[in-house]
């Protein structure tokens, strides 16, 4: 029995999604930029998908830019907004982001920092959630962009995106009102608003994506995390937000993202979000953002099942294995994440041992990554390096079963025991 618990890495494509895509690899192969009938058949698929995505995000179809995935969306959001603002003559704009972002946000931020942009990397609380007070304090006169991920990919913590969106909106409104009140001859240029971007890649299976509800100006999403295809993503850009293209060429996507459209991928993304759309539960909206205890109770449908399986996994692991730390705050995370540190065991060795049993998980441990550094997310949460190295992430999905959880709970304890038995220091220091 092969068991997959790595849905934060990628998800299997939904059969319905694949079925929608198939004709666009075959008879509907046209280039949507062509005006003949072949091109128009492809355009019809793209238009439908754009409407599906717009409906899902509660925005205008014209506010959706198709990209190659969330990494490109993040790069376009950050470099695109900053590029446009710099072009308007602002020499040293200020960007606020967090220490727990994906590298798709961190790397462009570090690059922009080298290019003279001022960047603030916000710390997080021990449960992996951004502190709103610290965010408010970080906002300065030259702040032009805030970028906070919706859900952290490693531990699954949910960030208060709606709250942040409202805070920024209020600051913008107050600034504008003050400017309006000033006498025309005294007031300077109209104040520049702060734009708010969220990387929603890990959130869309679980949380509302309504951009008006969230009060976001830009939102990144990816196809393959939501049972859609790889190599496709989108960036929502609210009308009026300045954006400079980072990829130049044949004027596609209103000249903001040149490159022949990935028609089958776009059609697949549309199909994938429309399946999510059906799962999106209105009552869940309000309660999810209120957070805390209510989060856990309000999961519905498939997510209710996933939450139950996750609880079963967590309880089973904690009961059957000593010296385990759960790094996922169950009260403030997706229902799918369970991130553990098994003290005295290197995470990668657990991953390999589980893989030999046919069970796929992930680790933020240095030994599984090219960098050999402990996970920046865990370090930001205040977890010691030696404990960060002991980490394993389970991320559950739609098709997991109770039998699979039971199997993990059976095979994991002897694996941990065996590996701890090899550690020269375990049982002495711990």
């Amino acid at each position: 029995m092969k068991i997959y618990f790595d849905h934060s890495a990628t998800t299997p494509i939904d059969k319905k999604v694949l079925k929608e895509m198939t004709p666009y690899f075959g008879e509907k192969f046209g280039n949507p930029s062509s005006i003949h009938s072949f091109g128009q058949a492809a355009v019809a698929g793209v238009d439908k998908a754009r409407e599906q995505v717009a409906k899902f995000l509660n925005c205008e179809p014209g506010e959706v830019i198709f990209t190659s995935g969330a990494t490109e969306s993040d790069n376009l959001a950050l470099r695109g907004v900053i590029g446009a603002i710099k072009r308007q003559g602002i020499a040293k704009p200020h960007v606020i982001t967090t220490l727990i972002e994906h590298d798709a946000v961190l790397a462009p931020c570090l690059e922009m920092e080298r290019e003279g942009v001022e960047i603030t990397f916000l710390p997080v609380k021990p449960n992996g959630v951004v502190d709103l007070e610290k965010l408010k304090k970080a906002i300065k006169e030259n702040t032009v962009l805030v970028s906070v991920m919706y859900v952290n990919s490693e531990v699954g913590s949910i960030q208060p995106i709606r709250e942040i969106g409202k805070i920024i909106e209020k600051i913008n409104k107050d600034k504008l009102n003050e400017w309006k009140k000033a006498r025309t001859k005294d007031r300077g240029e109209k104040p520049r608003p702060i734009y708010f971007h969220t990387d929603a890649t890990q959130a869309l299976n679980f949380l509302p994506a309504d951009t008006k509800y969230l009060h976001v100006d830009l939102l990144s999403l990816s196809g393959h995390k939501i049972y859609g295809p790889k190599g496709i993503g989108a960036l929502y850009v609210k009308n009026g937000v300045p954006l400079k293209a980072i990829q130049l060429g044949g004027h596609h996507e209103k000249n903001l993202r040149s490159g022949t459209l990935n028609v089958p991928g776009i059609v697949g993304l549309g199909a994938a979000v429309s399946l999510l759309d059906k799962k999106t539960r209105k009552p869940h909206y309000a309660e999810a953002s209120r957070g805390k205890q209510e989060n856990k109770k309000t999961w519905e449908g498939t997510n209710k099942k996933i939450a139950r399986l996750r609880d079963m996994l967590v309880d089973g692991v904690m009961k059957n294995i000593p010296d385990v730390i759960l790094n996922t705050d169950r009260e403030n995370s997706t229902p799918a994440h369970a991130h553990f540190s098994f003290l005295g065991v290197e995470g990668e060795s657990i991953l390999i041992a589980l893989d030999l049993e046919g069970i796929a998980v992930s680790t933020g441990s240095a030994c599984a990554s090219g960098s050999l550094k402990a996970s920046h997310v865990l370090i930001a949460m205040g977890i010691k390096k030696e404990i960060a190295h002991n980490s394993i992430r389970f991320s559950l999905g739609n098709n997991n079963t109770e039998a699979e959880i039971k199997r993990v709970i059976k095979v994991l304890p002897p694996i941990i025991k065996k590996l701890r038995g090899m550690n020269p220091d375990y049982g002495q220091e711990n």
Partner: protein, 130 residues
């Protein structure tokens, strides 16, 4: 989860075999010398126990905290030097271990260095106490 190296991340059959059933794993209670290297903050600790008679490594055991590669390296290294003279054991290089294991993913090559260091440390401790 991050900075994944996509090429050549997989382990050879021999590495997985050593990881699954490591040889010479454990403790020598009355060891003649012990070598310990690494640091838990880096994720790797390797400890090697040796028993020496007539200038030969009569027995050797290891304890390792680390990834599958670190455990496989410990197992292969102890196999390679068991029964060898001290001089022969000191000639075992990281490249020889990597070759014996049928290769290691590039990011894991440092694990073989750790093995060599642990052995050298044990031998150094043996020589300074004799």
């Amino acid at each position: 989860m991050h900075n994944m190296v996509h090429k050549n991340m997989s382990y050879s059959k021999k590495v997985l075999e050593h990881f699954k059933n490591p040889h010479n794993q454990g403790v020598i209670k009355n060891a003649d010398a012990i070598g310990k290297v690494g640091n838990p903050t880096c994720g790797d600790v390797m400890k090697i126990y040796i028993k020496v008679k007539d200038n030969k490594i009569k027995d050797i055991k290891f304890e390792t905290l680390g990834c599958a590669a670190a455990i496989a390296v410990s197992s292969a290294l102890t196999d390679m030097v068991k029964g060898k003279t001290i001089e022969e054991a000191l000639k075992v290089t990281k490249d020889k271990i990597v070759k014996d294991l049928g290769g290691l993913p590039p990011v894991k090559v440092h694990c073989s260095m750790l093995g060599v260091e642990a052995l050298h440390e044990a031998i150094k401790n043996y020589e300074s106490s004799n």
